[in-house]
Amino acid sequence: MNIEFEYRPGSTAVKITLDAQESITAEGGAMIAMSPNMDIQTTTQKNKGGGGGLLSGVKRMFAQESFFFNHFTAKDHSGTIYLGTSLPGDMINLELTGKKIFVQGGSYVASSADVHMETRWQGAKNLLSGESLFWIELSGHGNAIINAFGVIYPIDIDGEYIIDTGHIVAYEEGLNFTLSKAGSSWMSSILGGEGIVCLFKGKGRIWCQSHSSTTFGQQITPHLKAIKK
């Protein structure tokens, strides 16, 4: 499998070249174009023929991802497929080497056949943080492609680090976060416009996005046509 990114970071597409019989799993709707020798299977669960079924499908809907995955397989000879992002932004490839990676709901694009995927309920703290209620847990060995709103940049943490809600794309196993306040008091945090932030602890890498789609969406709200009740 060859993975090539084009036009990063503003108009990113990824071109994936598969050998004959090789497969890639992608988020529903991500395919821009492909060679005609691709076979497509649509399932609710990442792993072909695996369990999960409807419940994991519903879980994924809450994770702001499409309900279904498409498995693309190059049939008789090698094939190409282009995948895109839904919002303008960056894409990167994460190479999984056994360490788990947690991806924010909505940031998953695609993964190779040996990467295992599960949706994880993160509890009520995510409701407050403005992040998705679900994270996608990736494990195993292989490639995982993630996207973001804006540019993706990594930060290596050893100890503690604060990331504003809405800017987390993915983080490695070994890190954990709790909700915290940006300022010295709750009052200054809220008046300062920073509100609630995520306090990460541990050792590992976190991938951030330069912009928060939620903040941008709130900015354009006054310019959008109102929904009649």
């Binding site: 036009y7 174009a33 649509t42 709130q218 109102a226 009740k229």
Partner: protein, 225 residues
């Protein structure tokens, strides 16, 4: 008829492309209505209705403006309505290019711009309107996209999401079809695709407009009752 290749510079590609064209004296450039951003004062503008009713139906504005340099050369800066890429081609008289109905940006006067009815099934189901814009003749042609433009050299066909087609060359035929089996049609999220046959070039855009609209919808304000 003699014609000139225009000097041009495209800047800001692929995220925010705009093009500046230098017109020699008495040369004319046709530009999609409302796309002129800047120009020299010696450029004369005429508004022409091109293609009549069918162009109106194609979803493009029915007006193309013609800019002519008088008393010397002049520059015109053209900015498409969507943030994205611009592609330039020079048609040599033998080539025919089909553009998705909002991709046309500008062309020389000897480029023939027509709307082509795609047939009800092809047009309606593709979600991209019933018409393609057919460009033939001789001269410079500029077209634009939402997102970056990727040029595909196709020899034995290719499949493209209907929302990602910018244009393609004559010699390619397409059918609107589903990806995979019937389950994939309704559940895959890929909707319908254009299945191209034959050989030629296809230009695709890296972004689609519909997911942006889908994303913005939850941010719409509620009209208070």
């Amino acid at each position: 008829m003699e014609h000139h290749k225009f000097e041009y510079t495209i800047e800001g590609a692929p995220d925010y492309a705009f093009v500046e064209v230098k017109l020699p004296q008495n040369e004319t450039l046709k530009v999609e209505a409302s796309s002129m951003a800047t120009m020299d004062t010696n450029l004369e503008m005429k508004t022409k209705m091109k293609g009549g009713l069918s162009r109106f139906l194609s979803g493009e504005s029915i007006f193309i403006n013609e800019f002519t340099a008088r008393n010397g050369s002049g520059r015109i800066g053209i900015a498409p309505s969507m943030p994205g890429d611009i592609k330039h081609l020079h048609l040599d008289g033998g080539q025919v290019v089909y553009l998705q109905n909002s991709a046309y940006l500008a062309s020389g006067v000897n480029v023939v711009v027509e709307t082509k009815f795609q047939g009800l099934m092809k047009g309606f189901f593709s979600g991209e309107g019933l018409f393609l814009i057919k460009c033939s003749g001789t001269g410079d042609l500029f077209f634009n996209s939402y997102g970056a433009i990727i040029e595909l050299d196709v020899n034995d066909g290719y499949i493209v999401d209907t929302g990602n087609i910018v244009g393609f060359t004559e010699g390619l035929e397409y059918d609107i079809t589903k990806v995979g089996g019937y389950k994939s049609l309704f559940l895959s999220g890929e909707g319908l695709v254009a299945k191209f046959r034959g050989s030629g070039k296809i230009w695709i855009q890296t972004k689609k407009v519909s997911p942006l609209i889908y994303w913005a919808n939850p941010f719409r304000p509620q009209k208070g009752s």
